[in-house]
């Protein structure tokens, strides 16, 4: 009984039609949360005692890092669902998640580097977190490149899913190794954030930004998946019906 619901969930057409209805509202909420969180963090939250105002970059850097990592797992789970249940829609979500995650990883690296300059005097410091983020970027680029290299969509999706899953197993190993490597060479561990010991007035806007970034990710993922659906399903009847208004204008 419930499997019916699950398999309906796997229909690209259902996804496209449902998202057409709900996307505007979701986008509005995401924008509202992001804007309010950003304004709160940049203008209203108190400055850090040691770092001064440059710490405000945290309101973009930390949420981006969270989503970069979470996004990889979302991509890998989508790949796994595609491999196990052979769901086309799941593969489309996996393909869409890759560039979004890579862009967020890039934001995390970039904001981390800018933050590093006033705080530690250097744009790039090979600490555990930045190095792990860089490796995460390579993992994303690998999944994107592998799918791009295959001509057959089916093989591309399956290969990408396998690579994403292999990466999932590797991420904790890589993070722990890099962490260990860093403490080996730098006795004093510098932490970018120590959230629990943050003052509540600084922590609340961070929470809002994290929620906002999650909502943004959902919106971006839905948008990219919709385009991918149109691309792959263009020969089907329901997509042809969708473009009737355009055709009607020209006819």
């Amino acid at each position: 009984m419930s499997w019916q619901w699950f398999h309906r969930l796997g229909s690209p057409r259902w996804f496209y039609q449902t998202s057409t209805r709900w996307l505007p509202l979701l986008a509005l909420i995401a924008a509202a949360v992001l804007v309010s969180g950003l304004v709160w963090g940049l203008a209203f939250a108190p400055a850090d005692a040691k770092q001064g105002n440059s710490f405000r970059i945290i309101y973009i850097h930390v949420p981006a890092s969270f989503l970069a990592l979470a996004g990889y797992y979302i991509m890998a789970i989508a790949g796994a669902v595609g491999l196990i249940w052979k769901m086309k829609l799941s593969y489309m979500v996996m393909k869409s998640a890759a560039p979004i995650g890579a862009a967020l990883t890039f934001i995390a690296l970039f904001t981390g580097a800018i933050w590093g300059k006033p705080t530690w005097g250097a744009y790039w410091v090979w600490d555990a977190r930045i190095t792990s983020m860089l490796i995460l970027l390579f993992l994303y680029l690998g999944v994107m490149a592998l799918q791009y290299a295959y001509h057959s969509i089916d093989a591309a999706s399956k290969a990408g899913a396998i690579l994403a899953l292999v990466g999932t197993v590797n991420i904790p190993i890589i993070y722990k190794s890099v962490d260990w490597w860093y403490t080996l060479h730098q006795p004093a561990t510098i932490k970018f954030t120590s959230a629990p010991s943050m003052h509540i007035d600084m922590f609340l806007p961070l929470l809002v930004m994290i929620v906002g970034f999650y909502l943004f990710y959902a919106v971006a993922l839905i948008l990219h998946t919709r385009s991918e659906i149109l691309r792959r399903e263009r020969k089907t009847a329901w997509v042809r019906e969708l473009v009737q208004p355009n055709v009607g204008e020209k006819a």
Partner: protein, 227 residues
């Protein structure tokens, strides 16, 4: 004829060793690369013994990694081209075992020679005496890990043209823990610390790779060879 769960390992190991022997010029090129690049390092940096000694451990490991990366592309390439890979896929044996045989042959013809030649490089790069035994142990275990994880990448890219560069991009993240703990083993020994813990972690990585990589490579081959 009874098929055991381990069948396929020895035949394919022997086959690949024989094939490698027939192409021994080709197979030796990663080794030659390994030795040649170690000449580039003093030329590029400094001939001073003290400074070379500081970076020797890491540099030897980086070069071993690059040399393995060069060679892992050929793991399935020639078999894919002449059709024997397809034969392997339709044979009744469980796929991971023949693959493990092929990977073992690959290690015996690349990783093991690298390991055996490394003391020579240690000499050229002024590696401190305490580093030699750890270097041999870490390279032996580490190159095995590199061959195993490299096989997964090779399986994913076997049917692509110009898959070599993509292969490097794919396996690099998986290689990073190996080089971290491999070179740390040597550095620990040089600094007078107990070098067994990082070596043990390397051993754990090896154990996990032996268990998982043949399975992952088998799955990848089934999918990508159908392309």
């Amino acid at each position: 004829m009874a098929q055991s769960i381990n069948s396929g390992f020895t035949p394919w190991l022997k086959r690949d060793l024989l094939l490698a022997y027939r192409r021994r010029g080709e197979v030796a090129s990663p080794l030659v690369f390994f030795v040649m690049v170690s000449t580039l390092i003093p030329l590029g940096l400094t001939p001073e013994s003290a400074q070379l000694a500081e970076i020797a451990a890491g540099m030897i490991w980086v070069m071993a990694l690059l040399a393995t990366l060069l060679s892992v592309d050929g793991l399935f390439a020639s078999d894919y081209q002449d059709g024997s890979l397809e034969q392997l896929l339709i044979s009744p044996q469980l796929l991971p075992m023949p693959l493990l045989g092929k990977i073992t042959a690959h290690w015996l013809t690349t990783g093991l020679p690298l390991t055996l030649v490394s003391p020579l490089l240690g000499l050229m790069l002024s590696l401190p005496a305490a580093g030699y035994l750890p270097m041999l142990c870490s390279l032996a275990l580490g190159t095995a890990c590199l061959s195993l994880t490299g096989a997964v990448g090779a399986a994913l890219t076997v049917s692509l043209r110009k898959g070599g560069l993509l292969l490097s991009l794919l396996v690099m993240p998986m290689y990073m823990p190996v080089i971290i703990f491999g070179s740390a083993t040597i550095s620990y020994a040089i600094d007078g610390l107990n070098w067994l813990p990082p070596l043990a972690i390397l051993g754990a990585l090896f154990a996990a790779s032996v268990a998982l990589c043949p399975l992952a490579a088998a799955g990848a081959l089934r999918i990508t060879s159908a392309n």
